[in-house]
């Protein structure tokens, strides 16, 4: 990796201030950033570690909402019992090393088009809380590795309304075991949501036709005959847009079945 300055602020305010520097990059769990640096694919002048910020830590559930601190690792999310579908999703990310270093805030801020957490946030109708504001998931994800975050904005927590029923089903890309396609389905007070990751050139998205069908009848059969437009879908050595479109339907049905 190239040389860089390293800073580990103790307070959120200091971290935000540090990120105002042009050339500064936030470091959360580092599960994407560190390999990128090692391959010299990024050249930040300064890394601002978020590891010492107490404001980003902790999990709590009350009033039907699970609040997850942004620095919470996947392994910690996997260990909570208030939102089982979210726990199962976190338990399926990466390998034990990744799950014990990677954080939910880092994953959402990175918005990898094949990551699992964006599907959970969008599919749950979560709220992304930052040092400056609260952003509904519907407004947070804005494209491949793009989010609504400003350069000096730090995610502090994610609030998940706990649905009545939910499940995430991932079909793994054979090499990376990221989601070739992953579908998160939930049914709660806000209605039915179907969020799809891994499939689109635009990143995570909601499958509107699927949501409409499931709102009328929350059963796998309700999705029979629906098809997904291949327009924005990814084609690569692991599968073409038509295959991914097909998988969205298959996995959505399986998720509905698993959600019960």
């Amino acid at each position: 990796m190239y040389d860089f300055d390293f800073e580990r602020p103790a307070t959120l305010a200091d971290a935000v201030a540090a990120l105002k520097d042009e050339g500064a990059t936030a470091l959360a769990g580092g599960q994407t950033l560190i390999p990128t640096l090692k391959q010299r694919l990024a050249m930040p002048e300064r890394l601002v570690s978020l590891a010492a910020l107490d404001e980003l830590k902790g999990l709590s559930a009350s009033g039907g909402v699970l609040t997850v601190g942004a620095a919470t690792t996947h392994a910690q999310v996997a260990g909570q019992t208030d939102y089982p579908a979210l726990a199962a999703l976190a338990a399926g990310i990466g390998d034990p090393h990744v799950r014990n270093r990677g954080t939910i805030g880092g994953s959402l801020a990175n918005n990898d088009p094949s990551a699992c957490y964006p599907a959970a946030a969008l599919g749950s109708g979560a709220t992304i809380v930052t040092n400056a504001r609260e952003i509904p998931a519907d407004e947070f994800f804005s494209g491949l590795f793009e989010t609504a975050l400003e350069d000096d904005e730090i995610i502090t927590a994610v609030r998940f309304p706990i649905p009545d029923a939910a499940a995430y089903v991932k079909f793994e890309q054979p090499a990376s075991r990221f989601a070739l396609v992953g579908v998160f389905v939930s049914k709660g007070s806000g209605g039915v949501r179907v969020a799809v990751t891994g499939a689109s050139e635009e990143g995570v998205f909601r499958w509107a036709d699927g949501e409409a069908a499931l709102s009328a009848d929350f059963s796998p059969e309700a999705l029979d005959g629906l098809s997904v437009s291949t327009g924005d879908l990814i084609g690569d050595v692991h599968g073409g847009p038509d295959y991914r479109a097909h998988l969205i339907g298959v996995l959505a049905k399986r998720a509905v079945m698993a959600a019960g």
């Binding site: 391959q39 010299r40 079909f171 054979p174 090499a175 990376s176 990221f178 070739l180 690569d236 050595v237 692991h238 599968g239 073409g240 295959y243 097909h246 998988l247 298959v250």
Partner: protein, 787 residues
């Protein structure tokens, strides 16, 4: 299990203690005082003309000792090729130059343009980024057939085109084979690809060059399967260093699978640069570099045709293969699609007429060479796939069709120039049907169907030629080397032995298995025997480890050297017991005089050899150390039958391997546990090829699958719990151990079993699918089901 831990005992691998506790000593663990580091600037285009390489800025960077370019290597040789193939018109193959650093053109992504030697690896890398290489990108050729079209861009301007050779085998049979096809009652044709693979040894390649300016001695530490071969190739053909001034050390090596047989430019660079800068020079490949510099494997495009008579007897076989050589000829590349492939096309079957045509092609890709099995998997895959297709076309049972055409009498001279000394294909198939519980398949299929899954059964046979190889024969076939093996057995005064072998162990378990052979012969504890390998300074000239040759050839050399030891020890024992040498018997480590109760122990004799107070000095020299070179007089022919059961998820196309059984005939077995492990590992790699692995280039010659994000390696949960059996043993008739070799079998025999099983599952489900090219990824299987 033998109580003495000798031949046949499943002794635990002694080397695993250090491997599993982090005590292995790999090349990267070696650090030589004063060493500098090299970073290679590599081409990021597949094909380009080098206008200039400006190193001035790089040379001025902190820590830089010297920057090298292709011009620095104009006075030395290029990377040599170790095998010359003669084409079907009697002409030698086209053999391009392969400079250590690129000269004039770059020919694949990863081709080294320049190299920076600096105090630290980061400084070397920083400086490499400051080199200004002015390169005009040229159109690349990636597809083999396109590369042979008139007007295609030429990888090497000084060659007539991109055809390395057009090989016909057996050329004299060409017309007779054509006639047999004309007369056939049925012809089955199959076009297929054997997917390009990357070995992905756990340990990336490393090289450290060291030069002693006082003595003129060079040392190269390197990740190699055959240090003596590297010493000979690099010393004689590249750098002009005589062997007595060049030591090559290959210590613990973390897997090779063929990819560490070859002599690589980085080895020559580090050796050369160490003298130039008068500092040791170390290079450790990154994993990303490994993807674009380690020789790749396979990459054949094939059309195979099988002719049968009205009774379903095979009457002729014809194949046409395009074999990718990549941009340069790697050490043994030309031999892989020819002599290691064409000679195996008879398989386990009586096919009287065979013609094999292979066109080897240069492309703007990484060089392709031997990878576990090397030519034999390609032969087995196409043959066993076309037989399966023929059975389905004819509506006969695939196993019955195979049984009907089995070779049953040995020795058997094939129409492709080899003679199988022994085998029993009926017995291995019988054993397979038993251990795979083929009788229970229908019940398991019904159970899968109840769960919404499509179950299929794939069965196939394989044969391979191992114990490579008789030197006089391979010399006629174009090898520029002998393929004997060597051993020195040194007995110490107190009775322990050190065996110095020319073989190299990089996962095969030599340090455990070889002592079992010596211990068996003398009747002592195998822990009294130590194995030394991997250093040209203290081992006799050997050819190294590949082609499942180490026990068959290297083990035989150990037997011969140990026989010499025993003969001399008997002379000493006879003297000590005042008996006739001819009456001396050796059993359980005791020498005795036949018909008497006189005896002396092994240790008494070895002590006498080194403390010759009471010794026949007028007849024999003191000491007990012997060397033997063993040159086999034939290949060995391991064979077997494999069965794979898969489930296909019809909704996603995902294939899971539910059962896998392997019945192998490896001849005699020295350590059955190690054999099990070798088969398991080979099956894992074969299943990886069948379901997961593929090196993919785009049309510009960029490697799309250049990391583990896109190159899919098999993991533990991709493979089932295997059932393996090697009780059907027909011992090799021509080596002293009766062994055949087991290292490659799994990788050779398993890909067709997997593909046969998937095709079976889809056909049973009513799908009109006759073939799917590997890897059988979910999307490919789904596409085949939903055309």
């Amino acid at each position: 299990m033998p109580a003495d831990g000798g031949i046949g005992a499943p002794n635990k691998r002694r080397e695993d203690v250090r491997f599993l506790t982090g005590k292995g000593r790999y090349t990267d663990d070696i650090n030589v005082s004063g060493q500098a580091y090299v970073w290679f600037l590599r081409s990021n285009v597949a094909h380009g003309r080098i206008n200039s390489v400006d190193t001035a800025a790089a040379q001025a960077m902190p820590g830089v000792i010297r920057v090298f370019t292709g011009a620095d290597f104009e006075a030395v040789g290029g990377i040599p090729c170790g095998w010359q193939v003669t084409d079907r018109h009697g002409e030698p193959m086209q053999e391009p130059a392969h400079p250590v650093l690129a000269q004039g053109k770059v020919r694949h992504v990863g081709d080294p343009i320049a190299a920076v030697v600096a105090e630290t690896v980061e400084q070397a890398r920083d400086a490499a980024e400051a080199i200004e290489a002015d390169i005009d990108e040229l159109p690349a050729v990636v597809d083999m057939k396109a590369a042979l079209e008139p007007g295609a861009p030429k990888v090497h301007d000084d060659l007539t085109g991109n055809l390395c050779y057009d090989w016909g085998f057996v050329e004299e049979n060409r017309e007779a084979v054509a006639k047999a096809f004309d007369a056939a009652a049925h012809v089955t044709t199959l076009e297929l690809k054997n997917n390009r693979l990357i070995a992905n040894a756990m340990e990336p390649r490393v090289a450290i060059g060291e030069y002693n300016s006082a003595t003129g001695d060079h040392t190269l530490y390197t990740t190699s399967q055959n240090p003596h071969v590297i010493r000979l190739l690099m010393g004689a053909f590249v750098l002009g260093i005589p062997e007595h001034k060049l030591r090559v050390v290959a210590p613990d090596v973390g897997g090779g699978f063929g990819s560490k047989i070859f002599h690589y430019a980085e080895e020559a660079f580090c050796t050369f640069a160490a003298k130039e800068v008068n500092r040791p020079v170390k290079w450790t490949a990154t994993r990303s570099e490994a993807f674009i510099t380690d020789a790749h494997g396979r990459d054949h495009v094939t059309k195979i045709e099988l002719a049968l008579d009205a009774d379903n007897n095979f009457t002729a076989l014809r194949t046409e293969t395009y074999a990718n050589m990549g941009a340069y000829l790697s050490t043994f590349a030309p031999s892989v699609p020819t002599w290691l492939h064409g000679t195996l096309m008879a398989g386990n079957y009586r096919t009287p007429l065979i013609y094999v045509n292979v066109k080897a092609v240069f492309t703007n890709t990484v060089p392709v060479d031997a990878y576990r099995g090397a030519g034999r998997p390609e032969a087995t895959f196409q043959l066993e796939r076309v037989i399966d297709k023929a059975a389905r076309e004819l509506g006969v049972d695939p196993i019955a069709l195979r049984r009907q055409n089995f070779i049953t009498e040995f020795p058997y001279a094939t129409p492709v120039a080899v003679e199988y000394d022994t085998g029993d294909y009926v017995a291995t198939m019988d054993k397979l049907e038993e251990i795979a519980d083929l009788a229970g398949f229908e019940a398991r299929r019904a159970e899968s169907a109840a769960n919404g899954k499509l179950r299929g059964l794939g069965v196939n046979c394989y044969i391979e030629a191992c114990g490579i190889a008789p030197s006089h024969l391979v010399g006629q076939l174009g090898a520029r080397a002998g393929l004997y093996e060597s051993a020195t057995v040194r007995v110490n005064a107190t009775g322990g032995l050190v065996v110095m072998t020319g073989s190299h162990s990089h996962g095969q378990g030599h340090e455990t298995a070889f002592p079992q052979v010596v211990a068996e012969m003398i009747g002592i504890d195998p822990n009294m025997v130590e194995i030394v390998h991997g250093d040209t300074a203290n081992t006799p000239m050997g050819m190294g480890t590949y082609g499942s040759r180490s026990l068959a050839v290297g083990g035989s050399a150990i037997v011969r050297a140990t026989e010499k030891i025993i003969n001399k020890a008997k002379k000493i024992a006879a003297h000590l017991m005042e008996a006739s040498e001819g009456d001396i018997e050796l059993r359980d480590g005791q020498f005795s005089v036949a018909g008497t109760d006189k005896s002396v122990a092994w240790g008494d004799v070895t002590l006498a050899a080194y403390v010759p107070h009471n010794y026949p000095l007028e007849e024999i020299e003191p000491g007990l150390e012997e060397t033997a070179f063993y040159d086999p007089n034939n290949f060995t022919f391991p064979a077997g039958a494999y069965a794979c059961e898969v489930e296909v998820d019809p909704d996603t196309g995902k294939v899971t391997i539910e059962r896998f059984a392997a019945a192998d005939d490896f001849g005699n077995i020295v350590n059955p546990m190690i054999v099990d492990g070798q088969v398991h590992g080979g099956l894992g790699q074969g299943i990886g090829q069948a379901l997961l692995e593929q090196a993919v280039y785009d049309e510009d010659g960029q490697l799309i699958t250049g990391s583990y994000m896109d190159y899919a390696m098999p993991r533990a949960d991709d493979v089932p719990s295997y059932v393996v059996d090697h009780s059907c043993a027909t011992p090799c008739t021509h080596n002293p151990l009766g062994v055949k070799g087991c290292g490659e079998a799994g990788a050779i025999g398993s890909p067709p079993a997997v593909v046969n099983a998937v095709v079976d599952a889809l056909q049973r489900a009513g799908k009109d699918v006759t073939h799917i090219d590997m890897p059988l990824s979910p999307s490919r299987v789904w596409q085949a089901m939903n055309p």
